[in-house]
């Protein structure tokens, strides 16, 4: 049996939050990937919405590019919104 393709799974834990990458799985097609994601990643009441995407369709940065891609943003403190006070009743921050 040839191996099923790999999918990446993103789950939204509740309305208003973002989908978050939770893991990967193998599935025969897009529809079964959703089923598998439901069975593997939302068993403990983790989600209200699921996205799946074939892993090969994701374009990712490579570790070789780490320095030019990410290092320059490490010393620019003025880009951070650290000069605002966050009210106590704002969750998820």
């Amino acid at each position: 049996m040839s191996e099923w393709p790999l999918y990446e799974v993103f789950v939204r834990s509740k309305r208003g939050l973002n989908h978050v990458h939770v893991g990967s799985l193998h599935a025969a097609d897009d529809e079964t990937a959703l089923r598998h994601a439901r069975d593997l990643y939302t068993r403990r009441n983790e989600g209200v919405s699921i996205w799946v995407v074939r892993s090969e369709h994701i374009t990712a940065t490579s570790p070789d590019e780490k320095d030019p891609f990410f290092a320059p943003s490490g010393d620019k403190v003025y880009r951070h919104p650290t000069f605002y006070a966050i009210p106590d009743d704002v969750p998820h921050m």
Binding site: S13, K14, R35, D39, N45, E46, D89, V90, P91
Partner: protein, 337 residues
Amino acid sequence: MSAAGTDHLPPASPEGQHGNAYEALNEGDDPRWAYGTGFADPLAGVDTAVPEGVDAAELAAYCLMLGDDALIMSHRLQEWCARAPELEEEVALANIALDLLGQARLLLARAGAVDGSGRDEDTLAFQRDPGEFRNVRLAEVPNGDFAHTTARLLVFATWRLALLDRLAASRDPVLAAVAAKGVKEVAYHRDYAAGWVVRLGDGTAYSRERMAEGLAAVWPLVPELFTPHPAERRLARAGVAADPAAAREEFDATLAQVLTAATLPHPAAPRRDDAPGGGAPGLDGPSTPSPDLRKPSAPGPGSQEGALGRDGAHTPALDGLLAELQSVARAHPGARW
């Protein structure tokens, strides 16, 4: 379980106005704020008294029937753990098994509470002998291949969903609550099984052949599902139980729809190679002999002609299943873990 989740909610603002955007997203009725919180008790606030005019012993027997169906079917699905063709399918089958185990727990607990014996769910699951089990035989026959399992699950889930749908309006509030929870679960089980029956039936010549064999193997066990036990009939008339005979039409329609999508012949129809030319002669040809459901293969003491699973008459397969299911609990009575 702690109520930590609710402590993190912003206080409700006056006049029903939302204090901020995050509270608006909550809509005030969702205590879930993180992964794995916000579970609900399906029996919270449900009146557990036996409805007026209902025979408690009969209600308990009925709860045992539905509970044993779920318990035994769950065990057969659990047997796929570490044996399924793919890890993902194994978890899917285990999830379905766990759903059914949850239904079994509620129903067995209800049976023990109603019959006055004070037996809890564990006593009923682990301390009864095969002749005391009331499940249909479809649930107990041994596993075959994956196609056999999906065929059995499709038949079981389609039948059970039709029953639970009706039971959600039961006069017994506990049965109604268990059914309301079960409908959503079993609807997924049916969907899962139907998906595989279609995929394998409308797949390769080989997968199609094995799917047809799986359906043919479980089909002789179907008539029993729609043969009501006298207690089921009486309770159905009293508005407490779901009459399985009344669910046949829905069952047949669903199965026909799935089989059409799967491009499979109906398992009750004569096989195509038996009827060359597709004419009527095939209908008169020899058909596969189906086991006589009215003759239990392992008549226990006190069993009678025509007895079915609902009467405690089972196939020998249930002995082996229960030996495994009950071994630990019987070897260590009262043990906790």
